[in-house]
């Protein structure tokens, strides 16, 4: 089977154009990165519903809040590091606290932004957004899931953080039998009995690859795509952990505050289970090609495979 590779940010950009007619109140805002975040396509198709705020992420967030008070559905866009960090107080006080219907599109998340280096690699954006009351956090696995996840975010009344990446990654969800994106629900990609691997973003494709290799090593892994990190699909997480008794989380994010933390929080309360968190260990990233960085941090199939084997001691 040919594997198509496409960046999730492409899915974000295409989705905004695709759903524009269905959501006539949608207004897209950017902070001088329309070419990179892929909102440029929306700008071209609907210039009257596009606002370029210039390099002013804090102001962009406030403008979006003001637009939302009038019934618009503003979607703000920047690199994930600036879409959640530069404007954190604005998201907290002008969006989350008043529960305004603002969507935040953070592209270039994680280390795969690549050559730009640590200043541009958001590794704590999920943690920041997850801590805000009422904030929904989604992290699509691939291009196809990005398209449907953006629609679900637009249908949801309330603030949503949407996380996308720069690098082209395998498109996998459109080939899964019975797959359907639902906000707040995880999806079992492959059932297994020896270990549960909860993955999000680009780590989903890596986990699928790893499962094949693990099978050859006699390990039957359950692979679960957690596209909505908040609210977490607690039932799915707990049930799978109870079944396998061993859990691995995998995300292109710090091991502090992201998917790994969310899973540990749920399990520690409902089903204490040994967990290994694949992610960036409390450190900043560095410059390099996306491919080299994926290898360095063990974010490909081989990396996940090795980590899971080591964790299981098999």
């Amino acid at each position: 089977m040919d594997i198509v590779k496409k960046a999730t940010r492409e899915g974000y950009g295409d989705a905004l154009v695709k759903w524009a007619d269905e959501f006539p109140d949608m207004v897209v805002l950017d902070a001088d990165l329309a070419g990179s975040t892929k909102t440029g396509q929306f700008k071209k198709a609907h210039p009257e519903r596009f606002v370029d705020c210039g390099v002013a992420e804090a102001d962009m967030t406030g403008i979006a809040a003001g637009l939302a008070t009038t019934g618009k559905i503003p979607v703000i866009s920047s690199f994930a590091v600036f879409a959640t960090g530069r404007n954190y107080d604005q998201i907290r006080n002008s969006v989350a606290y008043p529960r305004l219907n603002v969507k935040i599109g953070g592209t270039h998340a994680g280390v795969t932004v690549g050559e730009d280096g640590a200043s541009h690699q958001a590794l704590e954006d999920i943690a920041l957004m997850r801590a805000l009351p009422g904030m929904t956090v989604i992290s699509p696995a691939d291009y196809a899931e990005s398209i449907v996840a953006v629609k679900a975010a637009l249908e949801h009344n309330g603030p949503v953080y949407m996380r996308f990446g720069r690098a082209a990654v395998p498109v996998v969800t459109d080939k899964l039998p019975g797959y359907k994106f639902e906000l707040g629900k995880g999806s079992i990609i492959k059932e297994g009995k020896d270990v549960s691997i909860f993955a999000t973003g680009i780590l989903v494709a890596a986990a699928i690859d790893a499962a094949e290799m693990l099978k050859d090593a006699g390990i039957d892994a359950e692979i679960i795509n957690i596209a909505t990190i908040k609210p977490l699909d607690r039932e799915l997480v707990v049930n799978s952990a109870r079944k396998t008794g061993m859990v691995v989380t995998a995300e292109e994010h710090s091991i502090i505050g992201g998917l790994g933390s969310a899973v540990c929080e749920a399990l520690s309360e409902d089903a204490p289970t040994k967990v290994y968190r694949i992610g960036v260990r409390d450190e900043f990233g560095e410059s390099g090609s996306a491919g080299d960085l994926i290898k360095k941090y063990g974010f490909d199939g081989q990396g996940v495979y090795e980590t899971v084997r080591k964790f299981l001691g098999k």
Binding site: D59, A65, Q90, Y97, P98
Partner: protein
Amino acid sequence: MTELELKKTAVKVRRGIIEGVYGAQAGHPGGSLSAADILTYLYFAEMKNLDPKDPKKKDRDRFVLSKGHAAPGLYAALANRGYFPVEDLKTLRHLGSYLQGHPNMNEVPGVDMSTGSLGQGISAAVGMAVAGKMDNASYRVYTMTGDGELQEGQLWEAAMFAGAHELDNLCVIVDNNNYQIDGAISEVCSPYPIDKKFEAFNFHVINIDGHDFSQMEKAFNEARETKGKPTAIIAKTTKGKDISYMEGQAGWHGKAPNKEQYDIAMQDLDKVEQAIG
């Protein structure tokens, strides 16, 4: 409303501010009292299509209190305008009260935007003005910032955007009472000259005495008639206005009066009321 009526209403608003911060034994009287006349003018003379029974009316003029700590002033104006009982002002900042320390648009009828973190309200007001332009709506958007708030970088991001996008449906009012918590604004980190700064950001700028209703009327009319530019009204005001021991005192930025001080404040307002006639 006549000037005489506005003056009388402003005294009621100031009484509400004192009731609120006294009842809370916390809050910000100084910057609420400096803003009281402007808030009175906005809610009783300037803003159009307001309906206290329908606070979210689509075509209403909007107001964002960017200096959110002046919530006692905003609440007192809204209560006197009929959005909620004046009696409730005493519950300000109490556990369980809808009158939170800083304005919450989901709790308080008539509050158009939640504010409190300085520099943010003006951006929300810009967003409302952008929406107005997109929808060809007739409403105008007003926002009030503090002068200490001018030190926030985001305020100038918003000003740059408003000027660049010619948002003539936006009016920014600077409550220039000259004091912030740490002292005189000129000593802490001077934002002067304020008018020249806004001019440089492509605003139409009007300097007024923020306690003179006839100057307000002229300025707000001029703002309404100004096309192709947002307007900034720089209102020179007195911090703690009309309360003898609070006037011009940075110490009354965020402090509540005790019983004795409460009585003096109310007597001060009695005198102001008598002087109006």
